[in-house]
């Protein structure tokens, strides 16, 4: 469904993506990992057309989106939802109005149907009764949940998650992961997640891809990924304790 072919991107004169080839399996949860500053979020933004590559192609279904703009790009984006790192809730709107926003603005929905769908989503993400609160009154975890409810309310085919658990304590991070997995299994959308949470991501992901020096170093199922013989990748994922390295890590 999403395919990147030879994608290159420079930011501020510095090469970030240097020929990324990546196919995202339909209906699966794919996590992209890599060192900080490798360009994982930049890669994610290319998938939804928030950034355009300097070279290469980005395919969503049968549509190549890298040179699209305006209405044709918006038509492609209707399949997507995105949960941003900070949730990106509209801070002048309440939680209810945030979750209702895509229904009112995109579907022009009115009346009690809006309320019903919003309350349903808030309950699914564990925010029942919180619709009246404003984003500034919420904790980090609650903001992520509200952002997830807003992403889910349109029942999209594809959801992108940009570091959904960054800045949260381990228990809250686990609850967000559990929520994403539960929703994914129930609704069957294609999920692409950027995350640093190793080893947790191996327990929740179907596929894992690693971005290294601007290219995809490895893409495999979560189980196969952990069996890699690449020493750099092994070192990267072993920091979280997922894999026991032979010999000492010191020096």
């Amino acid at each position: 469904m999403i395919k990147l072919v030879g994608v290159e991107k420079k930011l501020g004169g510095q090469p970030v993506l240097q020929g990324v080839d990546l196919s995202i399996p339909v209906g699966k949860l794919t996590t992209i990992i890599g060192r900080s500053g490798e360009g994982k979020s930049v890669l994610l933004k290319h998938m939804i057309g928030l950034m355009q590559p300097d070279r290469g192609e980005v395919w969503v279904g049968n549509v190549e989106i890298s040179r699209l703009s305006g209405t044709p790009l918006n038509d492609v984006r209707k399949q997507f939802a995105m949960l941003f790192q900070g949730a990106a809730l509209f801070d002048s709107l309440s939680v209810f109005e945030n979750v209702a926003f895509p229904l009112r603005e995109k579907l022009r929905m009115k009346g009690p149907e809006v309320g019903r769908r919003v309350e349903e989503k808030l309950e699914e993400v564990g925010l029942a009764g919180m619709g009246h609160k404003f984003p500034a009154e919420l904790s980090g975890g609650m903001r992520k949940r509200a952002g997830l409810a807003r992403a889910l309310v349109m029942e999209p085919a594809i959801i992108l998650f940009d570091e959904p658990t960054t800045g949260l304590d381990p228990l809250m991070a686990k609850s967000i992961h559990d929520l994403i997995v539960t929703m994914h299994r129930r609704l069957g959308f294609t999920a692409v997640m950027v995350s640093h949470e190793i080893p947790e991501i191996f327990g929740i992901s179907d596929w894992v891809a690693m971005l290294r020096k601007g290219k995809i170093a490895l893409m495999a199922t979560a189980a196969e990924f952990q069996q890699t013989a690449d020493p750099e990748i092994l070192e990267f994922i072993s920091v979280g304790g997922a894999v026991a390295l032979p010999g000492s890590l010191v020096g």
């Binding site: 928030l50 941003f84 801070d91 603005e105």
Partner: protein
């Protein structure tokens, strides 16, 4: 020497690029304004923010401006025995120049800086990106209503400014300094012509566009940091104010 010329050239190219980007920004916002859905509710909300909530500061400024004009004008006119023309002096100054310029500057300081900060924070916290991902054009949803509200709201505020200022002038001139009330208002009526009024309206429309355009642009393209937001807000207010003053001269020379 070559380095200096190179840096000067790079600076000039950047300024021209920025002017081009600003023009494309406002043209695309107006183009999106013409497409459905038409966001009347958003326009009314912005009109309330830019127009209604600036009323107090505009009335305060207008009142004291009229009063000080009358005070200064009275003593100048008395040298020529022309105190009776005080009403005309206050009214023409207000309607032609001070009303449009000072009202626009007050709106810049109050609403313009707030617009830049609001949009800038939305940019930094990825709320604008969130609109894009929902296939909602940020120029149509955020920017166009503000442009319309600026174009509609500032002329209304200028009209209010003119009225309050002229009354402020009468308060000082008539009640304090003893100018004949009849002479004051007669001179207002005889001196003010339709071309003075539509000149003031035309200026106020242009200034309303300048304030909302510049302040929205600076917020939309703010750099991703607190310092960037601070710079954007300052630049928005300074650039709007300078363009209002320069625009005032250009429009005055065209209208006269």
């Amino acid at each position: 020497m070559t380095n200096v010329i190179e840096q000067l050239g790079a600076w000039a190219v950047m300024r021209v690029q920025e002017m081009g980007r600003m023009l494309l920004f406002v043209l695309s916002a107006f183009a999106w304004l013409m497409r459905p859905p038409f966001r009347f509710h958003q326009i009314m909300k912005q009109l309330h923010f830019i127009g209604y909530r600036s009323t107090f500061v505009v009335v305060l400024t207008a009142g004291f401006t009229g009063m000080v004009l009358a005070l200064q004008g009275y003593y100048s006119l008395r040298k020529f025995g022309s105190e009776g023309l005080l009403g005309a002096a206050v009214a023409l100054s207000m309607i032609r120049e001070l009303g449009p310029v000072l009202a626009a500057l007050m709106v810049t300081a109050r609403a313009g800086s707030a617009m830049t900060a609001e949009i800038g924070i939305m940019r930094i916290t990825e709320q604008i990106d969130a609109l894009d991902t929902m296939a909602i054009n940020p120029r149509q949803y955020l920017i166009a209503p503000k442009l319309v509200a600026g174009i509609l709201g500032v002329p209304l505020l200028v009209a209010l400014f003119d009225v309050v200022g002229i009354y402020g002038g009468s308060l000082v001139g008539v009640d304090l300094l003893g100018v004949s009330e009849g002479a004051y208002w007669n001179s207002v009526e005889s001196a003010v012509e339709w071309k003075d009024v539509y000149g003031g309206i035309l200026k106020s429309i242009c200034f309303g566009l300048i304030v909302s355009w510049v302040c929205c642009y600076k917020g939309f393209y703010t750099r991703q940091s607190a310092e960037g937001l601070g710079s954007a807000t300052t630049e928005a207010v300074v650039l709007s104010s300078v363009l209002i003053l320069v625009g005032d001269y250009v429009l005055t020379s065209v209208l006269l």
